[in-house]
Symmetry: C2
């Protein structure tokens, strides 16, 4: 067999150490049991001397595993994605997996990303999605059908779909936020909602309504305004809401909450003296406002972590049925809420 002299492969190491290729392979894969200390030492030294780096690509071809999982994110501009990456990367690293990352801003590029990652032979796929209520899933179901383990985060799936989901309990979070206001004695509680084409917005709105209903309070539609998660939309909504003189507002977003805070300031009112405020979302973002906003914190780092764990389970045991993991939010009470005057 002719051999290129310049590249350092497992065969070169074997020759250098005077052993067989299999022995080197055994050494590299920790199968030290069937190996004398002397041989082990010679292999170790040969590797060292040649500065050998094993080629994972060749290994993956032979073993049909890449020890890599793909993370496809719908919206890399969304503020929620960094913690997801944080959690997923840590869990991957812990399990000796690598993370292949792709952004997929629209349905078509999501399809392409899935196809690309399948070609790259990832061992599994995680999709962290934007929360649109109607979203195409056929390519995922199809990939799943063909044996690619998949887990989704924050994505609606048809009933009984075999794909595990990690969901954030938006309903519960909104409920907790609103109940907190109720418990402080507020009776006229407004809501600035997210857009109605996203289930996050809808679920939060539903949680708000449920808490009101439980307290026997009426929900006027005049007290629920819709924003688009932007600072400006929060400002506008709050400005409009001020006419109805609510004593508290639950705001279904972080940037919107800061917008609302600004609107209240500009109107010459004070938080929490004149008006209590609860936000929803990235807690850092609203923590350093003045006053620090009470907010609902979603365990997003954990969502990334759990998604990886579920995925690894599926990789180990592909037939495990799809389950939904609902993650509970926490209410962080800070300075923007107070008992009604």
């Amino acid at each position: 067999m002719r051999e290129r002299a310049n590249r350092t492969t497992i065969r070169r190491v074997a020759r250098e150490a005077g052993v067989s290729v299999t022995t080197v392979s055994n050494y590299l894969n920790g199968r030290h049991s069937q190996m004398s200390a002397a041989t082990r030492e010679r292999v170790r030294e040969a590797i060292q001397r040649l500065g050998y780096h094993p080629n994972h690509v060749a290994r993956s071809l032979a073993t049909r595993r890449t020890a890599t999982i793909g993370l496809i994110i719908s919206e890399l501009t969304n503020a929620l994605y960094p913690p997801v990456i944080l959690g997923a990367e840590a869990a991957c690293r812990h399990a000796q997996y690598s993370l292949l990352l792709a952004n997929a801003p629209d349905a078509e590029s999501e399809r392409r990303a899935v196809e690309l990652m399948r070609r790259k032979q990832v061992d599994g796929l995680i999709l962290f999605s934007v929360s649109f209520i109607d979203i195409a899933n056929d390519h995922l179901l199809c990939a799943h059908e063909e044996g690619v383990p998949i887990v989704v985060i924050n994505r609606t799936m048809p009933e009984g779909a075999p794909i595990p989901r990690v969901m954030l309990d938006n309903f519960r979070g909104a409920y907790l936020a609103t109940r907190h206001l109720v418990e402080l004695g507020h009776r006229c509680i407004a809501h600035i909602a997210g857009p109605a084409n996203r289930f996050t917005g809808l679920d939060r709105r539903a949680g708000y309504l449920a808490a009101l209903a439980e307290a026997g309070l009426e929900s006027t539609s005049a007290l629920v305004l819709e924003g688009d998660y932007s600072f400006e939309s929060g400002y506008r909504a709050m400005h409009a809401l001020l006419d109805h003189r609510p004593s508290a507002v639950f705001i279904g977003g972080d940037a919107m909450a800061l917008g609302a805070l600004r609107a209240i300031r500009d109107a010459g009112l004070r938080v929490p003296d004149d008006l209590s405020l609860v936000a929803f979302g990235n807690p850092d973002f609203v923590h350093y406002a003045t006053p620090a906003l009470t907010t609902v914190d979603l365990p997003i780092v954990e969502a990334g972590k759990i998604a990886v764990e579920l995925l690894l389970e599926r990789i180990a045991a592909p037939e495990t049925p799809g389950e939904t993991r609902m993650l509970a939010p926490r209410l962080l009470v800070r300075e923007s809420t107070a008992p009604i005057a």
Copy 2:
């Protein structure tokens, strides 16, 4: 040759289409020129019928390229990393590359990450580093020596190191911020600096001093306090600074700036009426404060993008010498700065 019946490979496609493996390979790689329309169609149809997905791992083994680059980030908890990923991912996708992501919180895990990515045969490596002034580079220089294209972002390297760098001009940013305050008529300008073991902190401090010197202003050491980039440290530093009655403060960080703002509020003073403030860093974070903070914006998304571009150049032409790309910051004037009363 025995063949496993169940896996759909290029050989199966070839048999199905009644052509050779080479022909299918040519088809897949767009070498349509040497191919009759009829053959092309038969191959296309066979691929379709079998639901064939080409195996990039095998392809990478044969071609010795993976079309993947590795991005190693020192500090995935740092607020600067999301925009870097954003820029890098977009540039990668545009060039048909994939992005393998790893977090490397300390020197040892950075070494491991580099080694792992080399094993995975990435075509090149980007390191986005925390700005410690003394940082080990030997493993990078060594990998470079052995032919792995590398680009670093935000990292010091020994003079004349052959590794291209993308740097953010912290000095210039601080200079612009301070000059802005000078131009508004401020004469007593304080500075809350970052830690002295990071070049970002040092460069910003130097830029501040340069602008003062240029205006013929004295720099008292009492007016320069050091924080650790946290909200709390900003609060404490500002609180202490208030005794010296500066009319303006340049703060070398975003969270510290919000802390400072809070301290000013708590002291019953107003921004910008009593005190002008300029921040540094993530502009979104301080945009929605009240008042919106004037800040220095570093082009971080672009840094990720440019790093990828430099890397792709190096991949195409490995002998290109190392260069340093210094990226210019922008001063965003908002509501927290005003002419001196």
